[in-house]
């Protein structure tokens, strides 16, 4: 399993880099959250109170090195500090509240987008020269459409004009969270438009990527041979061509996850979805160092985990890596 071990090592290194980057960014950039808070209060604050707040927010004058060690130590205990925006709520609480929504939304949407996009890509390659070629210009266009614009358009059409779907929040006002069918239904109903946004906007990449690899794969001798063997088209298409074409796509899929997550941040903001993306924006707007740091860290780690899962999938799907040789 040297392949996986190596990848794991890499992810650990990357995680460390993300953590450190996270620590450095706020300290390298100018700005002072307390000052901002004071501005928000339109100046009605006592200077003594300002100092006290500063201390409460963990903005210390210790050496950067000491701060870094403290930061790592706190992280190790799962402590991300207190949010300034939601002071005195712990950042970890804010994240714990919002992360499940994002993971659910982005996870499901990405899964759908991957499955549908990959299938369409396979078909587009297989049925070259038929009407399926029409998918390509559409995908090319969608590939370049900003997520939030898709979201806005969907809001306009299905939310405002037709009023088929709710256009904000994660579940209805009248349902209380709990393990009830009503709640689940409401969650699904509310997730519909944001999920469709993510699916639409991220699917194009999958279609185009899969098609290109698939077209190349279709030219491979083993596909020609599979056809010569008199296998059914379906079997040739899926078991021989698609099965191989998926492999290079797994890596690109994993790498595009970061992009999808980025897009979903915008989507969440448009739909006021109570996920981590909305929180990130809130953190940025309020110059909420701890919150921004925490969220960026969590997103990065989530993407890393997803990448590692993709690597696992790769190992399972490709016998060449599973075996201990090249």
């Amino acid at each position: 399993m040297s392949f996986l071990a190596r990848r794991l090592g890499f992810y650990l290194l990357t995680a460390w880099a993300a953590i450190t980057l996270n620590f450095l960014i706020p300290r390298l950039m100018p700005g002072d959250p307390v000052e901002l808070l004071v501005a928000r209060m339109k100046g009605n604050v006592d200077p003594a109170a300002i100092d006290a707040m500063r201390r409460a927010f963990g903005i210390s004058d210790a050496s950067v090195w000491q701060q870094y060690l403290d930061y790592l130590g706190n992280l190790a205990q799962g402590e991300l500090g207190r949010s300034i925006t939601f002071f005195p709520t712990e950042v970890s609480t804010v994240i714990a509240d919002s992360l499940p929504w994002t993971v659910g939304l982005v996870g499901v949407a990405t899964l759908i987008s991957y499955v549908v996009g990959t299938s369409l890509g396979v078909l587009a390659a297989w049925k070259r020269g038929t009407w399926m070629d029409g998918v390509l210009p559409a995908a090319t266009f969608m590939h370049a459409v900003p997520y939030f614009w898709v979201a806005l358009a969907l809001v306009f059409v299905f939310g405002v004009t037709l009023q088929w779907f709710p256009v904000s929040r994660a579940y209805g006002l009248d349902v209380m969270p709990g393990l009830t069918g009503e709640f689940a239904g409401s969650v699904v109903y509310h997730a519909a438009l944001p999920a469709v946004t993510i699916v639409i906007a991220s699917m194009a990449d999958r279609i185009l990527g899969m098609r290109n690899v698939m077209v190349t794969t279709l030219g491979e001798d083993y596909v020609v041979m599979a056809e010569a063997k008199g296998l059914t088209s379906r079997r040739v298409m899926w078991a021989y061509a698609a099965r191989n074409a998926i492999l290079p796509n797994i890596t690109s899929f994993a790498l595009s996850l970061g992009f999808v997550v980025g897009g979903s941040v915008l989507t969440e903001i448009v739909f006021s979805y109570p996920g981590i993306g909305s929180m990130l924006l809130k953190g940025v707007e309020n110059e909420d160092f701890p919150l921004m740091q925490g969220i960026f860290l969590v997103i990065s780690l989530a993407v890393l985990v997803a990448n590692f899962l993709a690597d696992l999938a790769y190992v399972v799907l490709d016998p060449r890596t599973r075996q201990e040789s090249e």
Partner: protein, 329 residues
Amino acid sequence: MIVLEGRNLTKHFTAARGPRGRFGKRPPVRAVEDVSIALRAGTVSALVGESGCGKSTVARLLAQVCPATSGEVLLRGEPVRAHRGAAFRDYRRQVQLIFQDPFASLNPFHRVRYHLARPLRIHGHVRSDAHEQELIAELLERVSLTPVEQFMDKLPHELSGGQRQRVAIARALAVRPVALIADEPVSMLDVSIRLGVLRLLEKLADESGLALLYITHDIASARYFAEDITVMYAGRLIESGPSEALTQEARHPYTRLLLDSAPDPDRVTPPEATRHGEPPSLIDPPGGCRFHPRCPVALPVCSGEAPGRTELGEGRWTHCWQAESALTP
């Protein structure tokens, strides 16, 4: 006169990918083991062996494109030590390589002129632009790419395989080397045009006194174009001798197998049908004589210890435990 000589060259690659052994170290690929070879001025020598046996690695070691794990390379009897700087550049000037794939050995972006002008400039052979032009024309003429003007400004993809290989040869000649190593220079070319290129190389060795190493897996062509042949197997040399003698009367069982296996419509009786197995892995080569698992006449000793060189006279030698005894036909 021996121009270029490799002595006890060994090359182990650490594979960039592949399994790791214990302690996370990857076992090396023992691509070349204890190879000694000498090139003489005005002579074509051939290095023959099957695919993957390490021929190209020997070529690269001799050209000092990659450093040897052990052993040394001697140019006119002087060991080459420098790996950078003017001394090394001088070495580069004296020993040149020609690659197997003429489609890959010319940068598709540069014109013929550029390909020839660069080495001329780097090695300070040009005095002026006009002089450069003159030299390039001369080179093209030497490799029979005429009319010269027509070829000078062509891009590689506008040339046929044979023409490209001639450009590659011209480029090698541009630095005015004393030794030329041609690594399977014709194996990518169509049969019908191979001859032209080989004849050109032969002519160059003859006329310019170049020492030429002709690397090939086609032992028949080596018989035609080289004065002597060295046979390689799984990273080791196994036999060497004047080409006619070696092909007509091989002394090592592998050479004989090679000769028997080569297609030959003139053959009267087809060789007996026995399975010979596959060439060994170089990561974990067989102990002793590397050929013993496939050898029809292997003795117990063959698997225990690698045989040393047995001189057979008339410039012939072999590495085989049975060199003198059983093998003489």
